[in-house]
Every structure is written in C-alpha cells, then in structure tokens.
C-alpha cells in the first residue's frame, strides 16, 4: 500500500521543478512547459486527496476536469500569443518581449 504522503511529496517535487522552469527558462515555450508540469502536480494532489479522503464524493474529479479544460485553453492561447509575438518581433525569448517596459 502506498501512503498518501508519497503522492504529496512527489507532487511537491514536480511542482518545484515546474516552478524552476517557469522562473529560469528564457524561451517562452519552455516557460509554458513549466506551467504544464505545475498544473499536473496540482492534478495529482487533487486526485490523491480524493482517493484517500473522500472517495465517495465527486468534488475532486470534477475539479480535475475543470483543470484539464483550463490547461487546454491556457496552452492554446499561450502558444497563439507566442507565435504572434514571434511574427512581429522575431523572437520567443521572454527577456526580449519587453514592449510594456517603462
């Protein structure tokens, strides 16, 4: 039997790896990948808590379904923004997309 804490430690580690990717990567698409890792870590937490604490209720899976839909929307819009920025500025480096910098 796997203790609940193993899942929680695993998802905490995955979340931290994703956070590092978001903060440290230069490429905007790599930042999106880091966000995906973080969202997946959250999903594992939600499913693990549902399975161990409230397996008869439906709130956990319902929330995970919403996270899936939101993640799909986020990737679609994010990639569209990156491709649009690439067309106009010829770069996908987050440092160089600084139009709004004062």
């Amino acid at each position: 039997m796997i203790p609940l804490s193993w899942y929680l430690v695993f998802s905490a580690a995955l979340f931290s790896i994703g956070l590092f990717g978001v903060l440290a990567r230069k490429n905007a698409i790599a930042i999106l990948m880091g966000v995906e890792l973080m969202l997946n870590a959250v999903n594992i937490n939600l499913i693990a808590f549902w399975r161990y604490l409230t397996p008869t209720q439906v709130a956990g899976p319902a929330f995970v379904t919403m996270v899936f839909a939101t993640a799909a929307a986020e990737v679609a819009v994010g990639l569209a923004l990156i491709i649009s920025a690439y067309r106009r500025r010829n770069t996908v480096t987050a440092d160089e997309i600084d139009l709004l910098k004062g």
Binding site: S5, I17, E36, P55, P61, A71, V77
Partner: protein, 171 residues
C-alpha cells in the same frame, strides 16, 4: 515493499527525472519530448490511484493534444532561438533557490501533518466504474457542477476563437 510500491517509486523517479530534463535540456525540442515522458508518468500515477478515467484523459488530452501543440509551437518558432548557449536566465540561481525553498516549505508542512499517513480506503473495480458514472452525472446535474462545466466549455470556445484571432496572419 510490495510490487505496487516499486511501480510507484519507478514511475515517480522516471517522471521527476523527465521533469528535470524538461527544465534543463538545452534543446527545446528535446525538452518537449521529455515533457511527453513526464506526462506519461503522471498517467501511471492516475492509474495507481485507480482514477482510470483520468489516466486515459491524461494520455488523450495532455500527450495527444497539448504536447503535440507545444511541439508545433517549437517547430514554428525554431530558427531564431538557436539551440546553442545557455537557455536559462542570468538569475537562474534565484529561481533554483525559490523553488527549493517552496519544496522545503511544503515538506516541512507535510511532516507536521498527522493525516498524511492515512490508510487507503478500499475501492473495488465496480467502485471505480461507479465513480466515473457519478462524475458524469454530477457534471450535467443542476444540483452539482453543471454551471462550472458550462463555464469551462465557454472558456474553451472563447480560448480557441481568441487563439485563432491572435495567431491570424493579417498580411
């Protein structure tokens, strides 16, 4: 140590190693391929948690759609971002410090929490099937989650239309 624990540890180690490659690989396309490995490991986690529906959805939605979309994005923007040189910002040590700090904080919080070693409630295979049908009914039931479900559908449609509009080539 039981066989299921060994499967968990192997899947967890594989997923975390793939995740490290995702954030550290100098070639962005390799990072995208490692992301697929990582997402597959998470599908194994869902299967271990007897959330079979989400294991399948993980493969279909994340690997089948999102990862492929990201690979398309990488290929459409490839020429400029050369695969040589450091792919991390100057302040990558600060990012490493912040993520390590968050990880340490989460672990400290977990170690002080009694319910973390709760026993796994039994769930038969018919219970798994029942959970899926419960979820399906709850998502369209006015007493449960029909409103968030519809809001998520509208969000998806709006995001798709917005993505097409933003990425449209007007020249």
């Amino acid at each position: 140590m039981t066989s299921i624990q060994i499967i968990f540890l192997l899947a967890a180690a594989g997923t975390l190693a793939a995740g490290v490659f995702v954030v550290s690989s100098p070639k962005i396309l390799h990072a995208a391929l490692w992301l697929i490995v990582s997402l597959f490991g998470i599908a194994i986690m869902f299967a271990l948690l007897q959330a079979n529906f989400f294991a399948v959805i993980q493969v279909v939605v994340y690997i089948g759609a999102i990862a492929i979309l990201i690979i398309f994005g990488v290929m459409l923007t490839r020429r400029i971002m050369q695969d040589t040189g450091l792919q991390l910002t100057r302040f990558w040590w600060g990012a490493a410090l912040a993520s390590l700090g968050i990880f340490a904080g989460l672990i400290t919080m977990l170690s002080g929490w009694k319910a973390a070693d709760i026993a796994l409630p039994e769930m038969s295979s018919s219970g798994t099937t029942q959970a899926i049908s419960q979820l399906g009914q709850a998502l369209v039931s006015p007493d449960a989650y029909v409103l968030p479900f519809e809001a998520a559908s509208i969000l998806l449609v709006v995001a798709m239309i917005g993505a097409i509009y933003i990425a449209l080539d007007r020249k």
